[in-house]
């Protein structure tokens, strides 16, 4: 399990450097949608933002490599608690897709962070005054969730213009887990990591 994780991490980190050695001059920008229309749809499994999360996103910046998305995700109650409803905003960079195999292209690296907000009275953004100062530090409603990943996709025929659909995998962690790891040597790097899978369709 641990070695799997380490391998995944190493691979996802080392591949972009290997790939960057080759030059790809085909960085054509996609035609843009109207300013208000989302540039893509996204759906994700796991990653601390819900068993299933879905939302819309915008890409911008040089060659549209920067992405910002907002997702709603839910986690079932498993019969003993409330279903959790989580809203997440994520901002990340995703490298330009390079040819991989036949029609498929690969973005070797995507890296960024999300901020999640789970609603419900049991989750606190600010701790009420009844607690002594510094009793609890991190809010339980909000998590900062850094991640790195890769994605594989291809172009599909669309009505107005070709669509680009892709599958991605990410390794992520959370703010509190990183702090905990640095506070105690009994916590290993794989202990604080988790995986997420997702689909993205560029409109």
């Amino acid at each position: 399990m641990r070695s799997f994780f380490t391998l995944c991490l190493l691979l996802s980190l080392s591949c972009p450097f290997a790939a960057s050695a080759q030059q790809d001059s085909l960085k054509e920008d996609r035609p843009k949608n109207k300013w208000y229309a989302p540039d893509y749809l996204v759906m994700q499994h796991a990653g601390l933002i819900g068993i299933l999360a879905a939302g819309v996103g915008y890409d911008f910046g040089r060659h549209d490599r920067t992405n910002a998305e907002i997702m709603y995700g839910f986690t079932p109650n498993y019969g003993f608690k409330n279903t959790t409803h989580t809203f997440t905003t994520r901002v990340y960079y995703q490298s330009h897709p390079k040819p991989l195999y036949r029609d498929f292209k690969i973005s070797w690296i995507k890296a960024g962070a999300g901020i999640s907000m789970t609603i419900g009275e049991q989750f606190e953004t600010f701790f009420p005054k009844k607690y002594p100062e510094g009793y609890y530090i991190w809010p339980t409603a909000t998590r900062i969730l850094p991640f790195v990943g890769s994605s594989v996709g291809r172009t599909f025929k669309g009505h107005a213009r070709p669509l680009y659909g892709e599958f991605y995998a990410e390794i992520g962690t959370s703010d509190v887990m990183i702090v905990d790891k640095y506070r105690n040597k009994g916590i290993s790097v794989p202990d604080i990591l988790n995986l997420a899978l997702g689909l993205r369709l560029k409109l």
């Binding site: 691979l11 990653g47 068993i51 109650n77 690969i106 049991q122 339980t140 998590r143 105690n184 916590i187």
Partner: protein, 272 residues
């Protein structure tokens, strides 16, 4: 459009990466407080293991030795060393005074159980204030069991009391339940009450401090055991002959070893 193909090594690395990612399925975490727990009903399971020792301890003169720890939250390295130290001694069971986690995340609960499950003997817990955060109290109930509970082992009775008043409300601690539990038949020679927060602590319910001390006195409780402060302390808090013992956090590399013989309970601070 000219496509440049990747070198051979990267061609098979990509699917391999995907395969690795997919095979590591248990690494998917849905939510910090997700309810897909790997372990359930641990209190009941550990009570069964303790009950199996009943015949061994039915004679009141057989000494009973148990350990008291607490506040292992995030201190995994120290907890692992503590477990090794406990395993090297003759201990019937381990009591944990609460704060298994920092933020009551599902993953924190599970990793702490993995560390504590290396104990050769059963362990029993009481909920700590940190374990109540978010959906923590619900996760605790599902993974361990009730917040207030008790068990008997021969002539000994152990009562576990939720004292996290700030995270709940005025109804915590449940004093009427405690009094009921303390009313025991004559066959019970020793009573122990384990809770997370000591009654005089500024985070305990101030309206129940006197009441708690009165019950300990009235029902002649052998030891009142707790954690929370992270520092070892053993004293007669109200000068009434009732001893209050607080274990240090695992971080401080110490725990308490209690030996009960007849109606005498002696305790010592163990450093590891």
């Amino acid at each position: 459009m000219k496509t440049k193909h990747l070198p051979r090594i990267q061609k098979w690395l990509a699917p391999l990466l995907l395969l690795l990612v997919l095979s590591a399925c248990e690494a998917f975490e849905y939510h910090p407080y997700a309810g897909n727990l790997e372990y359930k009903n641990l209190t009941a399971q550990n009570l069964d293991r303790i009950k199996a020792l009943e015949t061994q301890y039915s004679n009141p003169l057989t000494p009973l030795r148990f350990a008291l720890t607490g506040d292992t939250q995030g201190y995994f390295a120290e907890t692992e060393d503590m477990v090794k130290d406990m395993n090297s001694r003759d201990i019937a069971f381990v009591l944990h005074a609460g704060d298994l986690t920092n933020y009551a995340f599902t993953d924190e609960f599970e990793r702490m159980h993995r560390a504590l499950s290396k104990l050769k003997m059963p362990y029993l817990t009481v909920i700590g204030n940190h374990d109540c955060l978010g959906d923590g109290d619900k996760l605790y109930k599902e993974m361990y069991g009730p917040l207030d509970y008790s068990f008997t082992l021969g002539p000994h009775k152990f009562i576990f009391l939720n004292t996290n008043f700030l995270e709940f409300d005025e109804s915590v601690p449940n004093m009427s339940w405690l009094e009921q539990e303390l009313q025991t038949p004559a066959s019970i020679a020793n009573k122990f009450v384990l809770s997370h927060i000591s009654p005089e602590n500024s985070e305990a319910n101030p309206n129940q401090e006197e009441n708690y001390a009165r019950l300990m006195r009235q029902y002649n409780v052998r030891l009142s055991l707790q954690g929370h402060t992270h520092n070892y302390q053993a004293r007669e808090l109200y000068k009434d002959g009732i001893k209050y013992v607080t274990t240090a956090a695992a971080l401080k590399r110490s725990y308490v070893l209690v030996t009960v013989t007849g109606t005498q309970a002696t305790f010592e601070k163990i450093e590891f």
